[in-house]
Amino acid sequence: MSDALEIGKLLRANVTGCVVGCAVTQLETPQFGGMVRIPLEKNYQVYGLIYDIHIDDDGLVRQLVTARRPVTPQIIEDNRLNRNVPVEISVLFAGYELDGRIFHLLPPRPPLILDTIYPCSPEEIARFTLAGRFGYLRHILRAADLPVGELLAAHLKQAGEANRAAGAADWQGKATQELIVLLRDDYPALMSVLGAIGEL
C-alpha cells in the first residue's frame, strides 16, 4: 500500500468529495472513473472515484497561445514542467474503511488539505466493490451534474477487470443489474447509462 505512487495532494474537500492538485508530470496515473483512496489515520481511509480532471490556464499560456512565433516543443515542455498552476482532479467519495471494515457510506469527516491521494490497486478495488451490495452506486447516481453514464462505464470497466482477476467473473453483470434496478423508474437516465456501458 505504501509503495503506491501518489496522485497528488488535497486542495479542498467537503463530505461528498474533494479536489486534488498535482503537477502535470504526475498526470499519467489518474484516469477518469479511476478509484482512489485517501489514507487519513491508522485504520481509516476514504475511497472515491475520479470524475473530473481539470487543467486551468495561466497568464503565460494565454500569451503563448496568441503569440505569432511558433511554439517550439521546448517551450511546451518548459511550460508544462515549470508551471505553477496545478492540475485539479475532482473526486467523488464512495465510501470509507474503518478498522478493516468497508462502508459504502459518506465518510464521517472529509480529509484535510495536503492529505495524499493514491490510486487503488486491483485488489483494493475488488475488495471495496465486493463489499456490501453496491451501496456506493447511489452516491454516483445522486450526482446530477456529472456525466453519470460515462463515469459508471469507466468504473465498471476498471472494477470489472479487477474483479475478474479476483475470481468474481459475474461482478460486472450483477453491478449492471443493480444499476438497472436503481434506475428503472428513470427511463432516460437508465438508457443513457446502459448506452455508455454498452460501449465497453
Binding site: 453483470g173 449492471t176 443489474q177 438497472i180 434496478v181 428503472r184 423508474d185 427511463y187 437508465l190 438508457m191 446502459l194 448506452g195 456501458i197 454498452g198
Partner: protein, 580 residues
C-alpha cells in the same frame, strides 16, 4: 400425436419457485410475479403457494405481460444494446404476472427447512394431533410468498390417491401429466353433467366414466343410448377405428337392451328387447311430448276425460281403437258420429270434439309405434328394473328408433317407473332397515339432456325430480349435452360434478359455470380448452376446478379396466359368463 402421460416433466427441478405473490384479493384473485419464462407455465396450471404455516392451492387463470415503465416494453432495446445487457435490462424491467384463482388452503405446519423445525413441529403437532383438512379458501397468502408448480403428491393430496379403489383416474394435468382422480363414491351421490360442443369427445369421456363406475361397482348404471354408442362395439365417427363397447369389456355385468321386438343393433343381437304395453302409458307421458307432437292446451283435459272413462290402464288402447271422423246416419238420415268414433266418445264425455279428434290424430305416431304393443311377450320393463336392482347395468339402445319422439317417450316412461320403484324401496328401507336391504344406488345416463330437461319440459318429466330430489332415494342423473344453456336452471344448479369440454357459446359457458365461485376466471379457461381431449372438472364432486387432458379410451385403458374387474369377479359371475 397421442398424448403420453409418462412424458417427463418439462421443468426438471420443481422445488424451485416459479414466482412470488405481489398482490391480489379473495375477490379478484392473486397476482404472482413470474420468475421463469412465461412459456413454462400455462393457463390452468395447478400451483401451490407457501405462506407461513399454510399452503394455498390455486389455478392459473391468466398470464399478463407487464413492464416497470411502458417505454421498456415499447422500445426494442435488444436492437440498441448488446445482447447480454438487453437480457439484463429485460430481466429487471419486463415481467409476466400470473393471475391465480385460489381455491383451497390447508394448514401444514412449520417449514421443514426453516430454523428450529424439530421444536416448532413438535409444538405444532401438540396443538394439531390430526392432519388439518383442506378447506375452501378463506384468506390469502402474504406478500412475496413463494409459488411453485404442483407436483404429483399435491395433486394426489387434493384429488385423491390414484391407487385408492374409490378413486378413478379421469385424466392428467396438462403440463406435467400427473394423474387427476375423481372420487366415484362421491360422484354418484349427486347428479352430474358432461358437457362440450360436438366433437369434443363427450362420448369417449362418458365411456371412460361409465367403465369406471361399472368397474368399481359403486352404483348400477342405466344408459339411454340414443345413438347406439355405448353397449356394443362401434366404429369411431372421426377416426374410423373400432371402439369397444361396455358389454364387451364387462360381459357379465352389462346387459344391452334394444327397443322393439325384432330389434338388432347394427346387425348385433341385444341381450333382450324392450316392448311397452299400451297399459303402461300414462297421460303424463303424453303431456311430456307436447312440443314434439305439437299438442294443444286442451290436451290435459282430453286425457283426463279418457282416464276418467276408461281408467289408467285402458285409456290408451281404447283411444287407439277409436276411429276419427267415422259417421253413421240416424233414423232421420242425418249424419251423426259413429259409436266407435272419437267424436262420439267426446260428445258423451263432454269434451270438445275437435280437441279430441286433434289429439287422436297427433297420437297416431304413437299408435303406429311398433314397440308399443297391446300385450307384451315378457315383462321387459320389469326385467330392466330387476337387472338394475341386482347390481348389474343396462344399456338401452334405441336401435332404429332414433327419433326424438321415441327417445323422449321411452326414457321418460322408464325413468318414471324406476323412480316409483326406488322411492318405494327407499321408504321401505327407511321404515324397516332391519328387514329391507339398502337400495342399490342408480345412475341414469341421459344423452341429449336438453330435450328432456329444457325450460318448458323440465317441470313435467321425471328427470327434473330426480335431479332435484332423488339423491335421497339413491337415484342420480348423469346428463350429457352439448347445449347446457338449454337445460332448466334449477336442474343445472343441482349438478354436483360438472365435466366440460370446449364450449364456444357464451350462454353455454355461463350455464356450465352457474353457481360456482370464480366463474369469471374460469370462463376464459373453458373457452380456450383444446377442442379435443381436454376437459375442465368443476363443482361439488371435485375439490377445486382443474383442467385435465382426458384419458384415452383405447386398448390400454380397456385392458386395465378389464383386467382389474375380472380380478374382482366372483366365481359365480365367471361361471355365468362362460355359460353355466
Amino acid at each position: 400425436m397421442p398424448y403420453n402421460p409418462n412424458l417427463k416433466p418439462k421443468i426438471e427441478n420443481r422445488k424451485f419457485p416459479v414466482g412470488y405473490v405481489v398482490g391480489g384479493s379473495l375477490k379478484e384473485n392473486l397476482r404472482v410475479r413470474l420468475t421463469i419464462s412465461p412459456q413454462e407455465v400455462q393457463e390452468g396450471a395447478f400451483v401451490v403457494v407457501q405462506s407461513g404455516d399454510w399452503q394455498f392451492y390455486g389455478l392459473v387463470t391468466d398470464l399478463m405481460l407487464g413492464s416497470t415503465d411502458p417505454r421498456f416494453a415499447d422500445e426494442q432495446s435488444e436492437l440498441r444494446l448488446p445482447g447480454e445487457l438487453a437480457a439484463l435490462l429485460h430481466g429487471q424491467t419486463l415481467y409476466t404476472t400470473l393471475e391465480v384463482l385460489p381455491a383451497l388452503m390447508q394448514e401444514v405446519g412449520p417449514d421443514p427447512e426453516g430454523p428450529n423445525f424439530a421444536r416448532l413441529y413438535t409444538e405444532w403437532r401438540q396443538s394439531h394431533p390430526k392432519d388439518p383438512p383442506l378447506i375452501p379458501i378463506k384468506t390469502i397468502p402474504s406478500h412475496h410468498a413463494p409459488v411453485r408448480l404442483a407436483h404429483a403428491g399435491d395433486i394426489a393430496a387434493i384429488f385423491g390417491d390414484p391407487t385408492d379403489p374409490d378413486n378413478f383416474v379421469l385424466g392428467y394435468t396438462r403440463e406435467q401429466g400427473y394423474p387427476v382422480c375423481i372420487n366415484l363414491k362421491k360422484f354418484v351421490q349427486r347428479s352430474s353433467g358432461v358437457f362440450g360442443a360436438t366433437g369434443t369427445g363427450k362420448s369417449f369421456l362418458t365411456r371412460i366414466l361409465l367403465a369406471g363406475m361399472i368397474k368399481y361397482n359403486q352404483a348400477s348404471v342405466l344408459v339411454f343410448d340414443m345413438h347406439n354408442e355405448y353397449g356394443l362395439d362401434d366404429t369411431a365417427s372421426d377416426t374410423n377405428q373400432r371402439v369397444i363397447g361396455l358389454r364387451t369389456i364387462f360381459p357379465g355385468q352389462v346387459r344391452v337392451v334394444a327397443l322393439g321386438r325384432t330389434a338388432s343393433i347394427r346387425g348385433q343381437s341385444p341381450d333382450f328387447t324392450l316392448e311397452v304395453g299400451e297399459s303402461e302409458i300414462a297421460p303424463e307421458d303424453i303431456e311430456m311430448l307436447t312440443r314434439e307432437l305439437n299438442l294443444k292446451e286442451t290436451t290435459p283435459t282430453t286425457l283426463a276425460a279418457l282416464v276418467h272413462t276408461f281408467g289408467r290402464a285402458q285409456w290408451f288402447s281404447e283411444f287407439k281403437k277409436m276411429k276419427q271422423g267415422a259417421v253413421i246416419e240416424d233414423e232421420e238420415g242425418k249424419k251423426i258420429p259413429a259409436p266407435d268414433s272419437v267424436e262420439a266418445w267426446a260428445r258423451q264425455a263432454g269434451v270438445n270434439e275437435a280437441a279430441a279428434a286433434g289429439l287422436h290424430g297427433k297420437l297416431n305416431r304413437l299408435f303406429d309405434a311398433p314397440y308399443i304393443v297391446s300385450k307384451t311377450v315378457g315383462d321387459s320393463l320389469g326385467e330392466i328394473i330387476r337387472t338394475l336392482e341386482s347390481g348389474r347395468h343396462v344399456v338401452l339402445s334405441f336401435g332404429d328408433y332414433e327419433s326424438d319422439l321415441d327417445y323422449l317417450l321411452i326414457s321418460n316412461l322408464l325413468t318414471r317407473k324406476i323412480r316409483e320403484k326406488w322411492e318405494e324401496h327407499t321408504n321401505q328401507y327407511r321404515s324397516h332397515p332391519e328387514k329391507t336391504s339398502e337400495p342399490r344406488p342408480l345412475v341414469i345416463v341421459v344423452e341429449e339432456a336438453h330435450k328432456l330437461l329444457n325450460h318448458e319440459m323440465a317441470q313435467q318429466t321425471a328427470f327434473s325430480t330426480i335431479a332435484r330430489e332423488m339423491r335421497k332415494y339413491y337415484v342420480t342423473l348423469l346428463i350429457i349435452d352439448q347445449r347446457p344453456s338449454q337445460i332448466y336452471d334449477e336442474v343445472l344448479s343441482q349438478l354436483g360434478t360438472r365435466i366440460s369440454g370446449w364450449l364456444g357459446d357464451d350462454s353455454d359457458i355461463q350455464a356450465v359455470l352457474s353457481g360456482l365461485a370464480g366463474r369469471d376466471a374460469l370462463r376464459g379457461m373453458l373457452a380456450r380448452l383444446q377442442p379435443k381431449e381436454e376437459v375442465l372438472l368443476l363443482g361439488w364432486g371435485v375439490p377445486m376446478p382443474i383442467p385435465v387432458r382426458s384419458r384415452r379410451y383405447d386398448e390400454k385403458f380397456v385392458q386395465e379396466v378389464r383386467g382389474r374387474s375380472l380380478g374382482k369377479q366372483s366365481e359365480a359371475d365367471i361361471l355365468k359368463e362362460i355359460g353355466f
